[in-house]
């Protein structure tokens, strides 16, 4: 099974474009005009947001071993 992850943003790279929130299947990311927010309880650890980011501003950090 997939590992449980936490998504981390590099604020200096992020443009707050909202793309990650758009591709997230579970509404685990919210992007306002001034900040990027992650909701661990909603995240399904698919890492789609990490792949989609046009500038590579996201990273997945493993928080637990195998589920």
């Amino acid at each position: 099974m997939t590992e449980k992850v936490r998504i981390i943003v590099d604020k200096d790279k992020c443009y707050l474009c909202g793309g990650c929130a758009g591709v997230c299947p579970s509404l685990a990311i919210r992007v306002s005009s001034s900040k990027w927010e992650f909701f661990q309880d909603k995240c399904i650890s698919c890492r789609i947001c990490v792949t989609a980011c046009p500038v590579g501003a996201l990273e997945a950090e493993v928080v637990e071993g195998r589920a």
Binding site: Y15, L16, C17, G18, G19, C20, A21, G22, V23, P25, L27, R30, V31, S32, S33, I48, T51, A52, C53, P54, V55, G56
Partner: protein, 397 residues
């Protein structure tokens, strides 16, 4: 207790579709609120800013030089080995906009028609009462507010937060998106009367690199690639610029975004909530442009909002789904089929097709009217010798 505002219609998102809806509905005397989370409507943009000249008349938008950077007379396409295909007209075919002025002016037209407009106001959730959506919760400069409205329009872009909170499943798999990255920069050596597009699996997987001139020596230089690509859009654009010895040290703006290019939201209305523009994935899947599509959707949506309000019958809103699919959906589905074939082309295929096709052919393909073109291509020797190319092309017939 948060402030409560009351309107006939609330529109979330002041990009392209939102202000068109707000303007059209307010013009008929109904109360409309248009909100946007950004402090300045139109900035930052997620757009290459090119649009066909026909939209101004069609959607009753003034041809105002304040938001038109440059008039364009056609396009030139480049294949991986350098074959080119040119479409050049003797009249203006499109323009490169300045979105930060254009979007603001669209919101201005909405406000002038009677709508209220609030930037730095972010919708956070919908409000439900007895199972019915009666408005949205928002933050206006950080202060919580409630906006009650009979009809909600989700024009909130690719994130489509409000549509999703309203229970409309706008989700699509990652393969159905493109990731885009763009510099507005000084650049020379490309005919500034044309837009320029480069194709190739090493150049821009599934997408293309574009140069959209805003001046003789200034352009939007960008790229779109499949979002499930392991490398970033930025990586591919910088690589292309370096390989082509194009200096990129005179940069005026950097823009980033994700574009839905893999199909369209089937049900555009749920009860009293309508979804328009990028939020409904109403984008041309071939070139990734969505402004004209957003205008079209906004126009159709506003027509049925007005009918529903006049007749006090919200069932009529569903006609937006039906009419959109008849008018624009059918055409875009055909374009999507082409895109899905193009996706499988090798660099050699791209060379052959770009070498063989004429400008008129390319235009027909981009518009979804391609069957004659495909039939002609199927007679080409380089196509006839390749069973794979024949299979790919026949999928389109």
């Amino acid at each position: 207790m948060s402030e409560i505002m009351k309107y006939d219609v609330v529109v979330v998102g002041a990009g392209i579709a939102g202000p068109i809806v707000a303007r059209n509905v307010a013009k008929e005397g109904y109360s409309v609120l248009l909100i946007d989370k950004k402090p300045a409507i139109g900035a930052p943009k997620q757009c290459a800013e090119g649009i066909n000249i026909s939209v101004f008349e069609k959607h009753d938008i003034p041809y105002d030089k304040r938001f038109i950077n440059r008039e364009i007379y056609g396009a030139r396409l480049y294949s991986p080995s350098g074959y080119t295909l040119e479409m050049r007209y003797n009249r203006v075919s499109g323009v490169i906009l300045e979105r930060k002025v254009f979007d603001k002016m669209l919101a201005f037209y909405a406000a002038r028609a009677g709508a209220d407009v609030l930037p730095r106001t972010e919708a956070t959730d919908v409000i439900r009462k007895d199972g019915k959506i009666i408005g949205i919760k928002a933050k206006k400069e950080g202060e919580p507010i409630e906006i009650r409205a009979d009809i909600l329009v989700a024009a909130d872009g690719v994130e489509s937060t409000i549509a999703r909170k309203a229970g409309i499943n706008t989700y699509a798999p990652l393969h159905e998106f493109d990731s885009a990255y763009e510099y507005e920069m000084l650049i020379e050596g490309f005919d500034p009367d044309l837009i320029h597009l480069w194709f190739g699996n090493n150049v821009a997987p599934r997408g293309y690199v574009w140069v959209f001139p805003k001046d003789e020596d200034r352009a939007n230089v960008g790229i779109g690639i499949n979002s499930d690509n392991p490398m970033t859009a930025k990586h591919y654009l910088d690589k292309w610029l370096k390989e082509n010895n194009i200096a990129f040290k005179k940069i005026l703006e950097v823009n980033v975004g994700i574009v839905p290019v893999g199909g369209f939201l089937r049900e555009l209305v749920k009860d009293n909530v309508l979804v328009v523009g990028d939020a409904a994935r109403q984008v041309n899947p071939m070139h990734g442009g969505g402004m004209a599509e957003a205008m079209e959707a906004g126009t159709i949506a506003s027509k049925w909002i007005l009918e529903a309000l006049k007749e006090e019958n919200f069932e009529l809103l569903k006609n937006y789904t039906t009419e959109w699919w008849e008018k624009d959906g059918k055409r875009l589905e055909r374009v999507l089929r082409v895109r899905k074939v193009v996706e499988h082309l090798t660099d050699e295929d791209l060379d052959v097709f770009i070498q063989t096709l004429s400008g008129i052919d390319a235009e027909k393909i981009a518009g979804g009217h391609y069957s004659e073109v495909i039939k002609a291509l199927l007679k080409q020797p380089k196509v006839l010798m390749s069973p794979r190319r024949i299979t790919l092309l026949k999928e389109l017939l």
